[in-house]
Symmetry: C2
Subunit: 94 residues, 2 copies
């Protein structure tokens, strides 16, 4: 199982709209990539103000999902909830 | 629900023993903190070579678990599998 995570580092002067993220952005990503669910985090302590985790059956399935044209729309939506530059991580779940 | 994550940043010259981590260290942490399971990651792409995620019912439950004397033993075990300085994050699962 593959996990694709996006982290938003706490950044001086930056804002993050958690409501928009949960209600609009992550659902858009799920629809675009054909997924049923994601895990959303709101940071309490540590380097990140927010994060999301998507799961895929394989690297191939992830590559196919992210290569759809709608991914550009998902990326273009980031400016609607934050000015933070996200950090991306792909991992195998052991 | 609270998630406590520990990330190991990819570090020049550092090693990470994924087998020891999965078979010995994380089970020790679970026993120490009275947890049934954790999610372990092996990094494929991104800033982290490995990560683990523990879940607690509340911040109070997490604080109580981590304050047991055995936590010192868990921390002392880190040197048995890596020289990387871990990054810790506490988040609310939305």
């Amino acid at each position: 199982m593959i996990k694709f995570s996006v982290f938003y580092p706490t950044t001086d002067g930056a804002t993050f709209d958690h409501d928009y993220y949960r209600d609009t952005h992550v659902p858009l990503a799920l629809r675009t990539w054909g997924l049923d669910e994601a895990e959303i985090e709101k940071g309490i302590d540590g380097p990140y103000v927010a994060a999301v985790h998507f799961r895929f059956e394989s690297l191939e399935a992830m590559g196919a999902a992210l290569s759809v044209p709608g991914t550009a729309e998902v990326q273009a939506d980031v400016g609607n909830y934050t000015t933070i530059e996200p950090v991306r991580q792909t991992s195998e779940i052991v």
